[in-house]
Amino acid sequence: MTNPTVLKAWGKIRSMAEQMQADERFTCVFREFAMLDAAALLDMEQVLAEEMGAEHFAIPKQVRPLYAITGGFRLQWRFAGSQTPPIYGSAELASPLELFQREGEPEPSRQVLSSERIFDLVSDDERVTVKMNPDRGIEGLFFYDEDGKAGQRLALDPSAYLVELAEHCAISKWQRFFTEEPLPRSNAVELDRQLEALMRALGGR
């Protein structure tokens, strides 16, 4: 079933990326991963269930609304307008298959169902993971930043993550304000400034 809020957020990300790609002040890479329709998702579940030896395996319900509207994507943008320094953002939301098997990994085993997997490969040194739970599907999202600190649990489920990602245009480190012990909003002056500058550049979207 399609969640209208998630659908709207996805629409916002797509149109923002298209606008950035058409604007020479921006450098933008945007690649959508192939979306799997309901039959293809079901087929994938059957294949993975067999490989993992988990008879009743199904894609966790927490990510279903997301994968009903996108197959995952890579978005990287940088704006070199008049403000100093430049502002930038990035996200790489895993495809449904990548939650269980990334390129170079062998066929998944049952262990994957109780492990931590990459959900958003933000950059070389930042990532958001999903902690899988064999009973509950997904236990939570965790943000790892470049300081190499232990993952901080995000107060967002996967759908809300996409909504906030769209809201903050994937601006670098927006996740810091959505951890269970978030930075106070008063610390978000820089994030807000960047967001405002971006909105102005995009014509007040």
């Binding site: 192939a34 495809s95 098997q101 990994e105």
Partner: protein, 366 residues
């Protein structure tokens, strides 16, 4: 079997004393292993101070494991003894049982060493990385333990990387605004998780998929072991493609690794734990790099829109009968689908059509 702890030479053997079979361990105080284990358990219970909880857990697990192995060893030894008694007519039977006992001894010593490390009878050595120069050849971590200088992220002028940045420009470095590699990485020969430095002599340009494969197949396993206080050796070797391929691109990467045993005050290589090797293809000489159909895995094919079961059939055929070439893809896949039921013809057509589209749109290449 010999090893050394706290300047004591240790030896394992099986003794038959008045009809009772025992696995014995020689040190200053020679005695049966089960008695040694009881002594270690008592020492373990006295552990105090920082890190003692973790060390206790490790010692407890190793003692439990050693006891289990000891029981098996004794059972096999008794069986060997019984076989020996009947050996006149069946020497083969005795030899088989005796060799089984030997293999249990091989399993027992690492557990005993793990206990001694947890109890600090054997000091955990600091990792030593052997390597150097400008270009990577062989890099060796020996001894390799969880102790050591932190590994480093890739830095410096890696031979071949300049070529990568000229052929792979699909990724935006948002911090610098420079377009750069999306498919290639500067890969460590000895991983930074295993204290491998991010210096050019420990780095080679490599496709991400090979790097992940190496992480999964070897590095993560070695990392798990050292975090359990095991001591390993780990040797990574690289050969390079010849011209006209630009310098620095590996044609073969291999890793040999195994356990180390503390003997006569030194760490010595002991049982091998595995070997791994891979043979990456050379990069294109010019143009934009496009992932090759013979190198991509299932996740990449599916994210490009190739139907999952077709992707699986394609990889299975590639693994069984070698790389595809432009003229044989269709015939080989048709042969694969000839034996399949259901909508085999439709699935084959859809799969081939999608691959054809991806090659035409330069999202995949031969």
């Amino acid at each position: 079997m010999h090893w050394t702890a706290e300047e004591e030479s240790h030896e394992l053997w099986i003794a038959d004393s008045g009809g009772t079979i025992e696995v014995m361990m020689a040190s200053v105080n020679k005695g049966p292993v089960h008695a040694k284990l009881a002594g270690y358990e008592a020492d373990m219970n006295k552990l105090k101070g920082p890190g003692s909880k973790e060390r206790k857990e490790r010692a407890r697990a190793a003692i439990a494991s050693a006891r289990k192995l000891l029981d098996s060893t004794l059972a096999e030894a008794r069986a060997a003894k019984a076989a020996a008694a009947k050996a006149e007519g069946k020497p083969g039977d005795f030899e088989e049982k005796n060799s089984k006992t030997e293999s249990w001894e091989e399993l027992l010593w690492p557990e005993l060493q793990a206990i001694q490390i947890a109890l600090k009878i054997i000091p955990l050595p600091k990792t030593v990385i052997h390597g150097g120069g400008i270009k990577a050849s062989t890099v060796r971590a020996e001894p390799l333990s969880k102790e050591g200088e932190g590994g480093g992220k890739p830095a410096g002028d890696v031979i071949g990387w300049k070529h990568v940045t000229s052929i792979d420009r699909a990724n935006l470095n948002v911090k610098t605004g420079v377009m750069g590699p999306a498919y290639w990485v500067r890969a460590h020969l000895v991983s930074e998780w295993l204290h491998g430095p991010g210096k050019p002599w420990n780095l080679v340009p490599l496709l991400k998929s090979y790097n992940t494969e190496m992480e999964v197949a070897v590095e993560s396993k070695a990392y798990e072991r050292i975090m359990q206080d095991e001591v390993l050796y780990y040797v990574a070797t690289v050969d390079y493609h010849a011209p006209p391929c630009p310098d620095g691109f590996p044609s073969m990467l291999s890793i040999n690794w195994g356990a180390m045993r503390y003997e006569n005050g030194k760490w010595e290589e002991a049982d091998a734990l595995g070997t791994y090797s891979t043979s990456p293809a050379a990069p294109p000489l010019e143009g934009q790099f496009v992932p090759r159909i013979n190198e991509v895995g299932r996740p990449a094919l599916v994210s490009l829109g190739v139907p999952m079961r077709f992707a699986m059939a394609l990889i299975e055929e590639r693994n069984a009968n070698g790389d595809f070439s432009e003229p044989d893809l269709s015939s080989r896949m048709t042969k694969v689908y000839a034996t399949r039921g259901g909508d085999a013809d439709l699935n084959l057509t859809l799969g081939l059509m999608k691959v054809g589209q991806l090659i035409k749109s330069k999202e995949l290449s031969w």
